[in-house]
């Protein structure tokens, strides 16, 4: 019995393949371009801040599209506003909230209720894809180890500071109270620039991973 096989010439097959693939590629490229445009636009919006890591000045950039909310042991789910997504689940120590409207994270944090523990999300690089850090509140300072307790307390009063507790990682180190967000960064910078401290750093939360 004779059989006949239908054989598609190779060039027709390749042509069809190219026709099928090309639109997707173009779409992807255009999407990438669009994404690139978006990224460029995002980068242009990234606001830069400086902070002092010991005696080294470092820069961080704000991610305008997400913010962080920190929980406390007694804190329940919170924050419903026009600028944020709804809260749905019990909170871990930190969760990230996408900013859905035309505003940005800095404005969203400013508009949040007084007792909220919101912070913009920042990055070590001028890109929203870098590892995250945020500001849950409070400032870490280390005073000169030769300062007396009285001198330290007077210094606290001078700058209207509330010491939450002494810290054990270094002599004359304290945790100073401040709100979450950029307020803690600004306070830390202000205290460091007095020249009176060895170290003044906001209490950063940073993205960490197991290995």
């Amino acid at each position: 019995m004779r059989t006949t096989q239908f054989s598609l010439p190779k060039w027709i097959f390749l042509s069809l393949a190219m026709i099928l693939i090309t639109p997707h590629t173009s779409f992807a490229m255009s999407s990438n371009t669009k994404m690139n445009v978006d990224n460029k636009q995002v980068e242009e919006k990234l606001q830069q801040y400086a902070w002092y890591d010991g005696n080294q000045k470092r820069s961080v950039w704000v991610n305008p599209h997400i913010m962080a909310e920190f929980s406390t042991p007694t804190k329940e789910a919170t924050i419903k506003s026009s600028t944020t997504s709804n809260v749905k689940t019990p909170m871990p120590f930190v969760r990230f909230i996408e900013i859905k409207t035309d505003t940005n994270s800095l404005q969203a944090v400013k508009q949040s209720p007084e007792k909220s523990q919101l912070s913009p999300v920042l990055h070590n690089v001028a890109s929203t894809t870098g590892t995250k850090r945020a500001l849950p509140g409070n400032v870490i300072i280390q005073m000169n180890p030769d300062w007396s307790q009285e001198k330290i307390e007077n210094w606290f009063k001078k700058y209207n500071l509330t010491a939450i507790k002494p810290l054990t990682f270094a002599p004359n180190a304290f945790l100073i109270q401040s709100k979450a967000g950029l307020e803690s960064l600004n306070l830390a910078n202000k205290l460091y620039e007095t020249g009176d401290v060895i170290l003044a750093s906001p209490n950063w939360w940073q993205e960490r991973a197991t290995r």
């Binding site: 070590n124 894809t129 409070n138 197991t210 290995r211």
Partner: protein
Amino acid sequence: MKQTFFSKCLFISLFAIMLIACEGPNDGSSDVSNNTQFNNLNKTAEPNTFIDSSLTPSNSTNATFYFSSSTALSIFRCRLNDLPFTPCYSPIQYTNLTSGNHTFVVQATDFNGNTDPSPALYQWNINGTELSDPLYFKQWHLKNTIQAGEDINIEPIWSRCTDDSCKGEGVRIAVVDNGLEITHEDLATNIVADKSYNYINFSTTPSAGDHGTSVAGIIAARDNSVGIRGVASRAELVGYDLLSASTNINEVDAMVRDAVQNHVSNNSWGPVDDTATLEASSAIWRTAINTGHAIGRNGLGTVYVWAAGNGQESGENSNYDGYANYRGVIATGAVTYLGQRTYYSEQGANLLISAPGGEGCAGVVTSDLTGSAGYNSVLTPWDDLDKNYTICFAGTSASAPVVSGVVALMLQANPNLGWRDVHAILARSARHNDPTNSDWQTNGAGLTINHNYGFGVVDAKAAVLLAEIWVNLEAEKTYPTNIEIVNQTIGDNNDSSVTSTLNVTSSGIRNIEFIEIHFSATDHTNSGDLEVTLVNQSTGTSSRLANTHTCSNCVPYNNWRFGSTRHLGEVADGNWQLIVEDKASNNTGTFQSWQLTFYGT
């Protein structure tokens, strides 16, 4: 013709049947001595059975016997304890034996069917419960039966004691991780009550973290006829679930909490891997480590063990991690059961040592969250252990706790070791693994070093023995050079390197322990283009500090601190070169400055 063929087949078949009948059954279950047909053929003297040699260590669950008969062509049957006789031949090995008394019997039967009426017998005892953990035989990192010698050589240490004096008793290890299941059946006995910490609710019950539970098991799972066995199976454990709330304040607390009582701090975490981006440690973290050295163990210093990182395939280098490359920690790489670098383990001039870390489900067998929680669940049928354990824990997360356990044994052997002494002993006692790897280099002190392994794979026996006789290092000296201003343009994407030389004189350091290298090229925004190498011109020893790589979010080198262990034992005085090359296109910059800081005696 057909009939003739049939006849032939029938004849052959019958003949074969007769032959088989004459040989007798071969199922090994019958007692040949009771086959009267053979007994009547030839009445000769019964054979004598001899046990020629035996390998029956009292601390091993394995035993091997070599035996023979006075009569050639004898067959044998063997019996272990009360089990029935089975056919056997020499040598015979028994595995997974329990502790207690054992009896081996072997009996010869000669070709004529005469059986030795007095079989040879051997009795021995396996000590205590040290090796009775039922999953011990799977823990290749402790005893590798697949590739002999590619383990941490720990059984000789355990065999030295019949009590707890060689299992880490009295040494406390803090597991800084995502938590720890303090009620786990194989960990609970070793957990120090009320000394763990939860950074979410501030209680002494940490989160039941899967990762931390597995880390803890590698360090100190109890030797108790349950589950697995830890490297230091009688050491004490506390768990700090830092990763539940990884703020600066919690990080520094975890480093110094109970520093006097915590001998070792295991840290199988760090900045996110796979970014190939410089991730600096904070000044306060480094201060906390220094404080731990100053006050830990009443001044001898807490020993910090750190996972080197898993991002090798993403272009990472452990020297891009400001935690793992700090001089105060033991950066630990990972090897497979074949003793070679795992695919993920990051290279680095800062590595001190390596240890088994495994890959995938050829991982380091360890504890897992109880029941269906954790890594071993209904969703992982290939993880074929009891659900309270897992075979699929792998990473530098696994290799670091192996080293932490060995450090615990060292500190039990010699409680007076300082933290720097521990670093030095580990380096000098490490096993030279993967001998054909081309990166091995002998430094000016005669020590072999490798960017993949540090000084090699941890050798528990060698480390403990060296710890016992170790004379502590003298007080540490520090010598920072001046900042060398270079300000030379680095040629883009070519082989034209920029080399700067520092001449070090009168440092007073004749035995380097660690070198910090501060490097700046702030205007080269694509830092991944740069390859940076430190060379001791006096010895030729080189430290590859940075490789050309792709970083998605490159951070320029702004006084970046590299670290190197590779010049251990060398003299600081002499000429040191820093060589910088740009090996990728489209970004240019300047080699601006550099500085060396030597630590040693």
